[in-house]
Symmetry: C2
Subunit: 347 residues, 2 copies
């Protein structure tokens, strides 16, 4: 059986641009380059230190030698057609709106790691509507995806409910050992801060994971549940011993990481609970989803899903599906079954 949606691009190659050359962006571009069907036609970074740099060096790939990163994506659009832009710059729709607009007006589809784009109308309904219009006007699709938000605490939970005739409560738990993660993540979870400093930064919104609210609202939407309240708490996990990572030291009693709990309610009844712990020295990293319903389901991913690799995977794997999706802003719920993009015959 053939895919029934018309393939809008040349089947031989997909022209891809990497937008954002931070650690995730570089890793995504390298992964994209490993796929036979993908042709990297450029990269963008607004950092003046990076634009102009040779992509052969940045991506450690000879096929990209002589191609310079640019500051403005229009420079790439002037030269070639772009099918998909892998976008990895910021967590916030407000900050990325102009980037999305420029990309879509250039005729390219988007897969973005922007956490708020996973369910863009939750915090930014007006901007989401505008982006949806721009996407439709330019006949392209824009998808926000990732591992968290994007998969382990939301999309996967929803998919599992397809085996249930009734669902009463969803509980997802994710424990991540921050020791092995990149430095920005260790900083983001507050590792090494005093407890007081953690609390004051948390109050200012300068710490923690972005996307728990998106995950809760996404699960509710997938299940057809109306929520009237989403609560979120952020607390430090206290180091019980002195700890050390490649990047920092943590003394006993300081912050080892973060405990971020989100709950969704209707009429004071808890329907969804997401429990995210990311800290240095986590002893039992795992992802768990427990569905109370008929039947009940108790699903464990032993060791958990590795954050950075999986984020990169979710971006690159979405490339063929955004090309085939209908134009507009879309979510992981609207497009065909999430799966690996081998870059070969499953396209």
């Amino acid at each position: 059986m053939e895919y029934r949606y018309e393939n809008p691009v040349d089947k031989e190659h997909i022209n891809v641009v990497q937008f954002g050359l931070g650690p995730i962006g570089i890793s995504a571009a390298k992964t994209a380059l490993s796929k036979d069907m993908i042709k990297m036609v450029g990269a963008v970074d607004i950092n003046p230190d990076l634009s102009g740099s040779d992509l052969g060096r940045i991506l450690e790939n000879d096929s990209m030698k002589g191609v310079a990163a640019v500051k403005d994506i229009k420079e790439i659009f002037d030269k070639t057609h772009v099918d998909v832009v892998i976008h990895t710059t910021s967590s916030f729709v407000e900050k990325t709106f102009d980037q999305f607009k420029a990309i879509m007006e250039g005729g390219a589809n988007i897969v973005s790691s922007t956490e708020e784009m996973f369910l863009p109308d939750l915090r930014n309904p007006k901007l989401a509507k505008e982006l949806d219009n721009i996407a439709k006007h330019n006949n392209v699709t824009c998808l926000g995806t990732g591992v968290n938000p994007g998969f382990v605490m939301d999309t996967l939970a929803i998919v599992l409910t397809s085996m249930c005739v009734d669902v009463e409560h969803i509980h997802a738990e994710r424990e991540v050992d921050a020791s092995s993660r990149r430095e920005p993540l260790q900083r983001k979870v507050g590792a090494g801060l005093s407890i007081d400093k953690f609390k004051s930064l948390a109050r200012e919104g300068k710490l923690g994971h972005r996307g728990l609210k998106e995950s809760i609202a996404f699960v509710a939407k997938g299940l057809g549940w109306q929520l009237d309240r989403i609560d979120e708490s952020i607390d430090p996990i206290v180091a019980e011993d002195d700890l050390e990572t490649k990047f920092l030291e943590i003394k006993k009693g300081e912050t080892a990481g973060i405990k971020n709990i989100g709950t969704g309610f209707f009429d004071d009844k808890e329907l969804i609970k997401l429990d995210l712990r990311m800290y240095v020295g986590a002893k039992n990293p795992h992802d768990t989803i427990r569905i109370s319903g008929n039947p009940c389901l108790d699903v464990v991913i032993n060791g958990g899903v590795a954050g950075d690799t999986a984020t990169v995977a979710s971006l690159v794997n979405s490339i063929p599906r955004v090309i085939k999706a209908q134009p507009g802003l879309c979510t992981m719920m609207d497009i065909a079954l999430p799966r690996i993009f081998t870059g070969k015959s499953n396209f």
Copy 2:
């Protein structure tokens, strides 16, 4: 954000017919009746003992009193528009072809538990092509789904690969305790047969699970893998003690159930292994998926997914998605994210 596919039916109600009034069919119809948005407008069974029977009695539901099961679905089409038919009659496309044809020519979409329909062009490429044409001609969609084949050993495995940048091997293991299942399943796995009888029935193809080949081919297709060989073995699991179920007795040394192993190869390299054990007295029922790749994933559903309830769930939950899908024969890979259909606002 609204669903972007035009809703082809009145949003207030979905008119549904149950085709096949065996245990799964009755259970599916009861579940469908529990959804606010679904209006059961009739049921079909080719068994003359059932046609004419009152659905109020069969479905134990007062709202269906006075509605008789019919032998020919045309009787229902003459009276009313049908949006979706839940089809639960046989495992084989050859046997169900005329039923699918009649349903689609009556203008209804189909969700079917026919195991071969999960990937219809595997064993029946010509009939699948014909059905695809009929579906497109009548502007309807036809989907084969279920728990196995349909989810635990195939769709779920594919979904999990969306977190991987590379996959080398997929191993799914399903152990089902047949003790608690309905009698036809206990008979189907050979429980209570002598080992010799089991082997001779297995040789004649009269025993065992239908769909392991479909699951393997579906996983391969989802990952873009070409297989050049699918092997399948069927062996008895021998009772180590005397066993007893509600329906039958098994003596020590007789057959407790079935071990059905399927493997997919390319160039003599094993890429996919599905290990299905269904037997009376299984001590550790579970579903496991192990993905060797980057990252590796080790996923366990403790206790496993309950077969009959989940099959019914997968059928009823697919109803809104087949209505919204594009016309034609489709698979679980082509349509929007599998999830529960609450029958309320997620439609």
